[in-house]
């Protein structure tokens, strides 16, 4: 027993040393594992040949409360890289991505991104879904002059952190506006209740805009109730909502909760349509919600009905790689973000921060699976949103709403 403590001390010293060592990533491609000779492990790992790979960094929530979203994003990015490498890589170099888990915590995201920048020397950073974590990363990336593309952080402040921070999705205010407009003009609703996720900045952001816009358009918000991500019982909120007799309920949360909310709403006899945002987009929604979610609407980046070959191929490839799972919006956005990054790597004269930054900023009408991407001067994607209706275990296109 006494031996343990000194051993721990020794292990600690080794670990500290390993952390300090300026390692090159030990290279792992999204696909083409055979092409990538695994490097022998020595301490923190020896650098690979070095010149024949370009290293990208990714931070995501692979564990913790938001793991669902982080894992989808990781899969999307991995798919994009695999395709790029199969097509010969960029400028004759293979692309590899280093993925770090932030346990759904912003301080871990900051730590991971710092490690990516200083230890792994990545040229570009992809991630996060949660805006809090993206903000933490943005601060570090901006300071280090490494470009960062967030696939799905919709909080407006993220890209305000600096000129190195980009995003390939629209922002909260737009999405809130889309659904308010749709509810008021297409569905002709007068009274709507809101059920928001109080633990998610995304949900709070959408709620704020929706309430404001919906009221401006002459509608009435009957009540705003809250739940916390991870809850599974929403009956109390729904009972309170039912009392106000709304004609619709806006639930700008994530599918992991929305499906269950729909079931419980129906159980309590609330038959009005639910409405939501891109957080709904996942095939899991249909599994969790069952028939209860039918007749609900949500705004999204793209429609899976899209006859576009590109989208079909993406869905097929994704299914092939991930046990038949249908990609959700987060996977699609992550895939797009990675492809924007790859495109920029191709176009940029070199992989230095400023060159990449300039190349990304020039992205215009890039054909993403989640809509065409044009980055504005605020480095946000200018996209139109589609509204989808859920029925019979799938979502169908209803209308497109432009900014």
């Amino acid at each position: 027993m006494r031996r343990l403590a000194p051993m721990l001390l020794a292990a600690l010293a080794v670990m500290a040393a390993a952390c300090e060592k300026k390692t090159q990533p030990t290279g792992e491609a999204g696909g083409a594992p055979a092409a990538q000779a695994p490097t022998t492990a020595q301490g923190g790992g020896t650098p690979p040949a070095g010149d024949d790979v370009i290293v990208l960094g990714e931070v995501g929530a692979l564990t913790g409360g938001q793991a669902t979203f982080g894992i989808s994003s990781r899969n999307g990015i991995a798919l994009a890289l695999k395709e790029a490498n199969a097509a010969g890589g960029v400028k004759g170099k293979k692309l590899v991505v280093r993925v770090y888990d932030d346990q759904s915590k912003p301080e871990e995201a900051a730590q991971a991104v710092t490690r990516l920048i200083t230890q792994d020397k990545v040229v570009l950073i992809l991630g996060e879904v949660a805006s809090s974590s993206s903000l933490a990363m943005a601060e570090k990336a901006q300071a280090a002059g490494v470009p960062m593309i967030t696939p799905s952080s919709t909080n407006p402040t993220v890209t305000e952190k600096g000129d190195n921070i980009f995003r390939v999705c629209f922002i909260d205010p737009f999405q809130g506006f889309v659904m308010a407009k749709f509810a008021r003009e297409n569905l002709k609703l007068n009274k709507v209740a809101v059920l928001q996720d109080n633990k998610s900045a995304y949900s709070i952001g959408l709620t704020e805009v929706f309430r404001q816009k919906f009221a401006e358009m002459g509608g009435k918000i009957t009540v705003t109730e809250s739940y916390s991500q991870g809850d599974t019982d929403y009956r109390a909120q729904l009972t309170a909502i039912k009392k106000t007799q709304p004609e619709g309920i806006y639930v700008p949360g994530y599918y992991s909760e929305v499906g269950v909310i729909a079931r419980q709403a129906r159980e309590l006899g609330l038959k009005v349509p639910l409405m939501g945002g891109d957080g709904w987009d996942s095939e899991k929604l249909f599994e969790l919600g069952g028939s209860a979610i039918d007749g609900s609407y949500f705004s999204n980046h793209y429609s899976p009905d899209n006859p576009d070959e590109r989208v079909k191929k993406f869905i097929a490839d994704y299914k092939a790689d991930y046990n038949g799972a249908v990609p959700d919006a987060l996977a699609a956005l992550a895939y797009d973000a990675a492809r924007v990054a790859i495109e920029a790597l191709k176009n940029a004269p070199d992989t230095s921060g400023p060159a990449l930054r300039a190349a990304i900023a020039k992205t215009k009408d890039f054909p993403g699976v989640a809509g065409n991407i044009t980055l504005d001067e605020k480095r946000n994607a200018v996209k139109s949103a589609v509204v989808l209706k859920v029925a019979d275990g799938k979502s169908t296109y209803v209308t497109t709403i432009s900014p």
């Binding site: 669902t68 039912k242 159980e267």
Partner: protein, 306 residues
Amino acid sequence: MSQLLQHLINGLASGTIYALVALGYTMVYGVLKLINFAHGDVMMVGVYMGYATAFALGRQAQRSMWGVVVIFAVAMVGCALLGFLIERFAYRPLREKPRLTALITAIGISFALSYGFQLDIGFLPGASPRAFPEVIVPSEWFIIGDRDVVVWNWQVISFLIAVGLMAALQFLVYRTRFGKAMRAVSYDHRTAALMGIPTDRIIALTFMLSSALAAGAGLLYAIKDTSVSPLMGLYVGLKAFVAAVIGGIGNVPGAVVGALLLGLVEEFVVGYAASTWRDAVAFAFLILVLLVKPGGLFGRVAAEKV
């Protein structure tokens, strides 16, 4: 009025589930004075076992009477086994050590289970929640007004199962030899051992019992809220633990009353006050109860013999 009734039904429904989980905390605390932080996660594992069984049975079988019985049996037996292993390898070696030590291993197990089940490697389910199959085909049993208040068959069935489990437990603890031994161990496990009570076996059995109960509770919970996720144990576990303390941890009826109270308090805070403050009110309620009755509602603070 109908709204009040609906809130009452909701509150009681979540309260009964808290109660079943809280009983597990209370029993283990009773015999070992250990806050078993892994309890909620054991529950989660039980739900996944039930989930896997339901799938193995197929859609038709899982909805039959015996299908439900099989699902519950597999989950409860599986969890009892898990509880046994945890007790045997993570707690028993530390029984004569400072109490905090076992608490840390409990936390370790909790981390390993809840994070482990988030992995999408091998048989592990991955982080996203999954829909729990409707093993009891929903039908409306009782309707007031124009569907103002609806009571579903599964709500009644769950309630009955929960009450049945609690009654069985009460019987077991207060009317059987095993229960007597358990209470003796709870009172003083060293003396109990001297009196010829097989302490190790009693403690192991208590663990298995509480884990089986957790699995049952978890399944009812999953049926009620129709989903299962790796983090469910953390959330439900914490609340159930609070419920056990409100009732007086170590006290069986106390856990039930505490859980029902907590369920109702949460429900009414959301229903009639601000839903954002639900968790804060739940904990404030806990602190209030403890300040008025330092040993919980039914617990007694053991007056220290001087």
